[in-house]
Amino acid sequence: MSDQSYVRTEMLPEQPAPFGETGILRWVKAKFFSNVLNSITTLVMVYILYWMIAEFLHWAWQPSWGMSSRRECFDAASVTGACWGVIPERFNQLMFGFYPRFEQWRPLAAGILLFIAIAPVLFSNLPRKMLTFSLIYPFLAVWLIWGGSIWFPLMVMAGFGIGYTSLRFLTPVFGSLASIVIAVLAAIVWWLFLASPVANAIQNVIPLGLLSVKSSLLGGLMLSIIIGVAGIACSFPLGIILALGRRSDMFIVKILSVGYIEFIRGVPLITLLFVASTLLNYFLPPGTNFDLLLRVIILVTMFQAAYLAEVIRGGLAALPVGQYEAANALGLDYWKSMRLVIMPQALKISIPGIVGSFIGLFKDTTLVSIISLLDPVGFINAIRGTAEWQGILWELYVFLILMFWIFTFSMSRYSMYLERKLQTGH
């Protein structure tokens, strides 16, 4: 028998790891003091962080919350930094703009109901019946915020009902394509010619509604949230359709999608906002009073959809071709395979990108200040011009940063939660 022959007769037992190689000690050592350079960097960074936080607190920790003007802050010996008095005094405007005081419960209610409406969309373990409320919510929110007769949003909802009912009853008779066309036409005819007169007629008999509030009175963080939420909700489906269109085999569909995406991406958002505020009126028939806020929401949606389409296309491209083939081989048609097999995976891959562009959209809503909508940034400029708060800057922006950070950070945390939840690879 040669020397190389070897047979193990018993397996070795597991032994505990050496001291300092597990737990917190190992973590601190590995992350902060693994070598000389790392240790020096750690110490320098700790010092810089300490200095920054200390300086900030020195500035921010001031007994100035009750001050009623900037002059008062200057005169008070105890105040050596931030003059926070502006925040409580102007809080209402920063939140609601010029929205009538006694009606402010309405946007507040719309805001609280928003959480109930999006909860079942965000968390799939909630009861599916809650989605009914999510479907009603857009109409409810519009009615709460803009007010007016309740019959009008109800009649708009009825349009969807008409479309759905005709689809349901016509499909067995005319087949799916024809009945979709008829259903859409029926709904459009209803909205254009019948919804408004019917709503007015009922309003005359049973007057029921809220005080009407003009768009020009909306402002503050509320305005950012309205544009942001509406933009996100509308651009998501549009982005999916554009992404599918860009990968379509149908040449015309593909060219249209590519053209749209490349055109929109080639134009800065500010330009589009100017188009919304000025140019769009030239294209519309004279005398049409097309709400500026609505125009802004439409253009923000169009802008966002183009970016979203590219993010989702990235997810689609990352899927192995075998997934498409397997779905086809199982007899799923195009829409079913997209909905059940391709999109769930593509969207999951694109979560970081999608949430990233939503966060971008939410922050971009502050750009509407340049077309003189009074979003928080617009308001800050206005407040700085008043006699009491002449030239005040940092306090308002710090407050604004905090407000926006709460929203964007929640989005980012949600995206991480979703990624973890959808994790199925092991």
Partner: protein, 262 residues
């Protein structure tokens, strides 16, 4: 290269009917200018088990992928179960729900559990009620011997298990024909036999099968016809006995000596 298959099957015990399952006549296919499949003529009767082999690039995968129109042929005729494959989407969907397919890389849907993978198509294509679809799925998962994995995700399973799930998923659509595109090529050697065993059982149940495979042991034991392809053409076809022991064409002899030589 021979893979040991313990189960002995009496080839005459498996009945082949006279009914034609697949009829391919003068079929040609090009990728751009490249002529991939040339004048393919082939008849598959119900209950036949056909093994297609040949060097890589010979067009054998393309051939079976034409049968459920994952690839589109440009000339000739393919009739599956009495329905001709044309660009008519209704026919394609009908044929695809009758013809099951297993891929080299399994192609399970990673975002769905094993059970959801198996019930997806019955529920959405066949409109089977969920409960019934799940019962059928469990039946087939038991058949491929992994019912206990039903609630796991594909990535938690070994390659051999995944391929068996893929077979069960196809079977849930109650197909009349099964296509296998190199089902064992991506598997570790120790997992090949579990997949082949499943395929053998399927053959014993009388399934019409076309397998692209290099498992010559499987071909010898299960196939009633072996087709050898090269350069997009059918070079030789025969019953396995004659094909392996007395190949007629030089090209076949060379191929067999290369894959069986060591």
């Amino acid at each position: 290269m021979f893979h040991a298959i313990e189960k002995e099957i009496d080839a005459s015990g498996m009945k082949v009917s006279d009914e034609v399952a697949i009829q391919i006549t003068d079929m040609n296919k090009w990728y751009g200018d490249f002529h991939v499949l040339k004048d393919i003529n082939m008849t598959v009767n119900r209950g036949e088990r056909i093994v297609v082999c040949g060097p890589s690039g010979s067009g054998k995968s393309t051939l079976i992928r034409c049968i459920n129109r994952l690839e589109v042929h440009q000339k000739g005729q393919i009739i599956v179960d009495g329905t001709e494959l044309t660009s008519d989407i209704k026919n394609i969907d009908k044929i695809r729900s009758e013809v099951g397919m297993c891929f080299q890389h399994f192609n399970l849907f990673p975002h769905l559990t094993i059970l959801e993978n198996s019930t997806l198509s019955p529920i959405w294509v066949r409109k089977t009620p969920k409960k019934e679809a799940e019962e059928t799925a469990m039946h087939f998962l038991e058949k491929v011997k992994i019912p206990e994995q039903a609630d796991k995700y594909p990535a938690q399973l070994s390659g051999g298990q995944q391929q068996r799930v893929a077979i069960a998923r196809s079977l849930c659509m109650q197909p009349r024909i099964m296509l296998f595109d190199e089902p064992t090529s991506a598997l570790d050697p120790e997992m090949i036999s579990e997949v082949l065993d499943t395929m053998i059982e399927l053959a014993e149940d009388g399934m019409t099968m076309i397998c692209v495979t290099h498992e010559m042991g499987f071909a010898r034991k299960v196939a009633n016809r072996v087709i050898f392809m090269d350069q997009g053409q059918i070079v030789e076809q025969n019953d396995p006995e004659s094909f392996f022991n007395a190949p007629k064409s030089e090209r076949t002899q060379l191929f067999l000596s290369q894959i069986l030589g060591h």
